[in-house]
């Protein structure tokens, strides 16, 4: 099988699997216990915090809160802040957020805050001018993803943050970095980000672990209460095997930055061949553009439903997804793609190819060849 659905999840590095297995076998102690073996686990967790700090431009170790993944991190950021903001405020959220954010905003509305939707342009990038008109001194919270999971468009979070801060100095800026972390640079202090959510399994780490990086001074109301871990913000015994796995993944990703950049070359190699076909169109920024993430390619095949193309590719041993995996259970046309101005049939004809560090050129050439062949075959049978 050739796996091109790395935005859904990635295969863990061997170093991750080995580290976790050793941790479960030998290092099973509760990191909060008082004896020596537990302290060793605590040190490993400490090392993971340091690695996250280095990768996000955070400053202090206590800014890192470990969670059970991206969704929990986003929930904690949004609900924790919404509960801490006493006066009813305005929450701005982009129109293309992952359900972990979009659905959570509904609860924010129920808590008495106002939620405004920030529009995107035809390239799948947030429309800064339109956003500025939505902002005022009541803007309390802004949420914008770092990289669109559907198109790979890198969002101008630094500009957005600066713009909002000009209107209200105490605004909180939340960035869902699940699709961006370690594939697109992030420096929270330089980019003006207060809350940054990341996930382990999108960077060849384990599932069920992630972190929310919270800039010093930002107040969150805990959404999980209990034994008081993570300074009381996120109680629960440390998931040490997963945290150690996350650390291994960060280490290997950091050591292989050249390979991360090489994903862009793979993406361009595929796009270069497939874009020659009549009726194929890229969604989001041009793949070579600076605001196109290195690992996501969204293509519309005119006249062939994405689902059919996906199934046919699976038949050839190539795994991709339609739209994004998170919304594919609902089998609805992607709202994000529609908001970029795609017609219903175009949005319906979309597949997402997402790359990881384990893909190679040979796979790309095979995938391109199969796509050419299948598209030629399938487009003959379009609905009359």
């Amino acid at each position: 099988m050739m796996y091109f659905d790395n935005s859904a999840t990635t295969r863990p590095f061997d170093s991750v699997i080995d580290g976790m297995s050793a941790s479960m076998r030998d290092g099973f102690y509760n990191a909060s216990a008082a004896y020596r073996p537990a302290m060793d686990i605590e040190k490993q967790i400490h090392a993971c915090r340091q690695a996250i700090i280095a990768q996000t431009g955070a400053k202090r170790e206590d800014e890192v809160i470990f969670t059970a993944g991206g969704t929990e991190s986003d929930n904690l950021a949004i609900l924790g802040a919404a509960a801490a903001i006493r006066r009813a405020g305005v929450f701005l959220v982009s129109s293309i957020e992952h359900p972990a954010v979009a659905e959570t905003m509904r609860r924010v509305e129920k808590m008495g805050h106002e939620v405004r939707i920030m529009p995107i342009n035809a390239r799948g990038v947030i429309d800064l001018e339109a956003c500025e008109r939505l902002m005022d001194e009541d803007t309390a919270f802004i949420s914008c993803m770092q990289v669109s999971n559907e198109t790979g468009a890198i969002q101008p979070v630094a500009e957005l943050s600066a713009m909002a801060r000009a209107k209200n100095r105490s605004v909180l800026v939340h960035v869902d970095g699940v699709q961006g972390f370690m594939r697109v640079p992030m420096n929270m202090s330089r980019m003006g980000v207060d809350l940054y959510a990341l996930s382990g399994h999108k960077i060849h780490g384990p599932k069920g672990v992630g972190a929310l990086v919270v800039r010093k001074g930002v107040r969150l109301i805990p959404q999980t209460t209990g034994g008081g871990q993570e300074k009381g913000i996120r109680s629960g015994t440390y998931n040490s095997p997963a945290i150690i796995g996350l650390h291994k993944a960060i280490e290997e990703m950091a050591a292989r930055q050249a390979d991360v950049e090489a994903m862009r070359a793979l993406k361009l190699r595929l796009y270069e061949r497939v874009s020659r076909l009549d009726g194929v169109k890229v969604n989001g920024p041009e793949p070579a553009a600076a605001d196109s993430a290195p690992h996501i390619l969204s293509l519309s095949f005119d006249g062939v439903r994405g689902e059919v193309m996906r199934n046919a590719l699976e038949g050839e041993g190539i795994l991709v997804s339609t739209g994004s995996a998170c919304s594919s259970h609902k089998q609805k046309v992607s709202a994000s793609l529609r908001s970029m101005g795609l017609s219903e049939t175009q949005a319906d004809g979309t597949i997402r190819i997402s790359f990881g560090l384990m893909n190679n050129e040979q796979e790309i050439d095979t995938a391109a060849e199969k796509m050419e062949k299948l598209y030629a075959l399938l487009k003959q049978y379009r609905r009359r």
Partner: protein, 382 residues
């Protein structure tokens, strides 16, 4: 004293000389249904009992799905000689209940010292005295406790309705055309309930339908097999036929011609699987291919009976039935079963047979069917 399950059967009662054949089938199927929870099934004085099971609730769940079973009652079996002990047990069983009650007694052992009215009176009096929050109502009681005196005494309070019907395999075998929709599992259930063994045929249009769509159909078949036992699902590759029809036939006839191919292939598979009839989920007028004329067109190519038990049902009635038998949720999963890419915008609703026949001439029917049969995958479920 032990916990047993008392099984009542329905229509088998009506049978005359061949009743032992039906009873044997029924007992075999109950045995098969509970093989994973353990337990003995035995017949005594025209009653079926299940004993020595590991899990009463699971046993009930399984036995109530066996066709031919009318209802079941969890019961206590105990020695009949000590009538005081029987009264004590009856009072214990009634203690958790609220409201009114009455005692029903049956006595097949006519040498028993108490007759039925005496049993009712004595046991009723004892319960009333020892469970003071209950009162007696012989006309409309909230609860009935039954005391039966046979080789042992049997006490039961609950009566759980079962699926009814006839024991599986007593009325031949039929082949169900199973899509992924709501109607076909209901149709299969209704015919199977009459004691008809099933096999299924499903048309798979890869890549227009996904692996998940196929899994969904197999899951529906598995849900049906909880009632009708292990069966074969024949998964027929159908894409080539659909593409040929799409290419070579007039658009408004494509659905009907496709239905005719489905029926032809189903008949061949049915014959090979020793089935004597076909079952479909069609309901008159529901869609274009289910108008009176369209049904006539599809029937024309089949030489065996085609059962359509949903034919006179409204969609809402079919859905209600699907919910009862537990297939609705799976049927509602959003995977496509019949690809929209091949659905004509304006299908013929009043087709003329001779025009359809003529349109079909453009296709090499024999070769297409042979290839589809050749590529058929057989999956056993249940």
């Amino acid at each position: 004293m032990r916990q047993i399950l008392l099984v009542r059967f329905g229509e088998v009662f009506l049978k005359g000389q061949n009743r032992p054949f039906f009873m044997k089938k029924l007992i075999d199927h109950i045995r098969l249904a509970i093989r994973e929870v353990g337990g003995n099934v035995w017949l005594s004085e025209g009653r079926i009992y299940v004993s020595d099971f590991s899990d009463l609730d699971e046993c009930i769940r399984r036995v109530t799905k066996v066709f031919g079973v009318h209802s079941v009652s969890p019961a206590i079996e105990m020695p009949k000689d000590d009538f005081d002990a029987i009264c004590r047990q009856a009072a214990e069983m009634m203690r958790p209940k609220q409201g009114t009650f009455k005692v029903l007694a049956k006595r097949s052992d006519k040498r028993y010292p108490l007759d039925s009215p005496a049993i009712m009176r004595e046991a009723g009096g004892y319960i009333l005295q020892n469970v003071p929050h209950l009162s007696v109502d012989v006309n409309h009681p909230d609860h009935e406790i039954t005391i039966e005196i046979r080789d042992h005494a049997y006490l039961s309070v609950e009566r759980i309705p079962a699926v009814c019907g006839m024991p599986m395999g007593t009325n031949g075998k039929a082949c169900l055309l199973l899509s992924g929709g709501i109607d076909s599992p209901v149709a299969g259930f209704m015919i199977a309930k009459r004691g008809v063994e099933l096999c299924c045929v499903h048309y798979h249009s890869f890549p227009y339908t996904s692996e998940r769509a196929k899994e969904k159909v197999l899951e529906l078949a598995r849900l049906l097999s909880e009632y009708c036992g292990r069966m074969r699902v024949h998964v027929v590759p159908f894409t080539e036929i659909q593409m040929q029809i799409h290419e070579k036939c007039p658009e408004n006839f494509t659905t009907l011609i496709m239905r005719r191919y489905m029926m032809r292939i189903a008949q061949i598979i049915a014959e090979r699987d020793h089935a004597q009839a076909l079952i479909t989920g069609e309901s008159v007028g529901q869609v274009a291919s289910q108008t009176m004329e369209a049904l006539g067109c599809t029937d024309e190519v089949v030489g065996m009976p085609v059962f359509r038990p949903c034919i006179g049902m409204d969609k809402s009635e079919i859905i209600e039935r699907a919910e009862q038998i537990g297939t609705f949720e799976t049927s509602s999963l959003p995977y496509e079963d019949c690809c929209t890419v091949f659905t004509p915008k304006h299908p013929a609703t009043h087709p003329r047979k001779e025009l359809i026949r003529k349109a079909e001439k453009a296709l090499d029917t024999e070769a297409l069917i042979a290839a589809a049969i050749e590529g058929t995958e057989v999956v056993v479920v249940g």
